[in-house]
């Protein structure tokens, strides 16, 4: 069976790969949006922390024999801790200033993290085996489904939806949304806003690290894996607008799929398609698909 001259199996394979990439986009842009909402900081270090998540998983297995499953929980926790240290020691001092200083600071942090990892591991990728429980593929009749890829999509979707639920439907999320709207008012109601800010930053970067661990077996673990991704994530954020949680998730997934399909039909364009879409969205709807004009 063929679709537009492409064998169906190949088409579906790329579609799945696009969904996998889209899941990473969704998780990263979600974290970026949550952080921006409360801190007004565009976290350039998001890609570097994603890379660190992947590296922690690799190091855990390589040096200490800790399994993928343990690291899937441990790595985000460690990165959250690391992120909270960054927030408390550095970002905290910039909230009163122009937003661009937050971006510049996290850019510097990105360079440091990447530089450290490059000085130890070079630029080549480290292979990371798919955990044995998820190895192999099942035959669905019309295509072979690699189990690990399916797991990535399902796990990311669950994490994204739980995040959406917590922010939109729980009391904790209500504090967070209130803090986004008017932090001083929330503080006046007796809520520890600085602590909430720190925890939010920790949570946002934990999402990035979680995505990193998920990505480790799909992509190679390399010090540069985060830096190219972060620019694409910025485009995703501009396209979606950072106003809505569900918007971030949907935009991320959709762009991953579009990118995957471009690889099938017009491979030359696959690395630029996201940016072209961004340009079109800026022309048609400058605030972004789910954004609100201020």
């Amino acid at each position: 069976m063929e679709i537009f001259g492409i064998p169906l199996a190949a088409f579906l394979g790329q579609l799945l790969l696009g969904l996998v990439n889209g899941s990473f986009y969704a998780m990263l842009s979600l974290g970026l949006a949550v952080i921006f909402g409360l801190l007004n900081v565009i976290n350039f270090a998001h890609g570097a922390l994603y890379m660190m998540g992947a590296f922690l998983a690799w190091m855990g297995l390589q040096y200490f024999g800790i399994s993928y499953w343990v690291m899937l929980l441990l790595a985000p926790l460690m990165i959250a801790l690391f992120g909270m240290v960054i927030e408390r020691s550095m970002l905290r001092w910039l909230y009163q200033l122009d937003h661009l200083y937050g971006l510049l600071l996290t850019f510097g942090v990105t360079l440091i993290i990447e530089g450290v990892f490059r000085s130890f591991y070079g630029v080549s990728g480290q292979p990371f085996a798919v955990p044995p429980q998820l190895a192999g593929a099942t035959d669905l009749g019309f295509m072979m489904l690699p189990i690990y890829r399916a797991w990535v999509v399902v796990a990311s979707l669950v994490v994204c939806l739980v995040t959406w639920f917590v922010i939109e439907k729980t009391r904790l999320g209500a504090y967070l949304r209130a803090g986004t709207e008017n932090p001083r008012m929330v503080e006046a109601f007796g809520i520890n806003v600085p602590l909430m800010v720190t925890l939010t930053y920790g949570f946002g970067v934990a999402l990035a690290a979680f995505a990193g661990v998920l990505a480790a077996p799909v992509l190679q673990v390399s010090p540069l894996m985060g830096s190219n991704l972060i620019v694409t994530i910025f485009a995703v954020v501009v396209i979606g607008g950072m106003g809505s949680i569900l918007g971030s998730i949907v935009t991320g997934l959709a762009l991953g799929v579009i990118e995957g399909l471009t690889k099938v039909f017009y491979p030359e364009l696959s690395s630029t398609v996201v940016f072209i879409i961004m340009a079109i969205v800026l022309l048609v709807r400058p605030a972004g698909l789910f954004g609100r004009e201020k």
Binding site: M90, L111, R118, A279, L282
Partner: protein, 318 residues
Amino acid sequence: MSRKLGYTAVLLGLLIAPFALYPVLLMKILCFALFACAFNLLIGFTGLLSFGHAAFFGGAAYITGHALKMWGLPFELGILTGTLFAALVGWVIGGLAIRRQGIYFTMITLALAQMLFFVFLQAPFTGGEDGLQSIPRGYLLGVIDLRNDLTMYYVVLAIMVLSFALIVRVIHSPFGQVLKAVRENEPRATSLGYEVARYKSLAFVLSAALAGLAGSVKAVVLGFGTLTDVHWSMSGLVVLMTLVGGMGTLFGPVLGAIIIIALENKLGDVGAWLAQVTAVEWFNTLGESVTMITGLIFVICVLAFRRGIIGELVARLR
């Protein structure tokens, strides 16, 4: 009076500099100084943080290189082609980016520049990962041989001084005053009847063209154009130069360019020396860890030193 004296002293210093220092390194510093000044025109005087200036700098380098090497254009026309290309790309990227404000503007410039990076990576004429090699210097006005480093240096110096004078003129012109008004308070500038978008766009094109001029000249001086010049890390580097020297000051970016380029060139030596003194083997690899050090400077500058060297000096002297 003292200002005129200062300008004369700097100019004299630049005229005799190639007899004391390696001319190619000096030319490289001059190119980056202009690049940083062009960037500063946006961040320092219009309040727009572009994270995509590598596209103009590196893109113009490729175009100039190609024009000189494959089309056989003379030096002046080659430089002009590169600069016009940068202006055109600046017009497109700037036009899209100014549709959003603040931090979004920055993200859009970064993303569009990254798109151009991929275009240059895939385009056959750039030589992909190997870069565009052996760009000929040719002759100025058909007679002056530019293969001599000293001759080339004075030509580059003339271009840079003229461009710098242009930037100073723009900043002090009525146009420059409107840009400052936009930086200080955009809604107010709008309500005073200025078409802010047009001013922003024009400033962006001017900045892009000058960044392109710097890239074009650099490509001719060094004889090659590479992917490094269009990569976002180059955009970051020019931000750092401006930040270190002082955003919104005239000479800050120049000083920042000198410091950062000197650092890049000498970091290996410094590392070797540190390794010798402290007997820590790791310092020998410092030359390869330039990104780490630039990152560190970034963090320190943003946290403690936001006015930059010149800005700090001016504030102290007042």
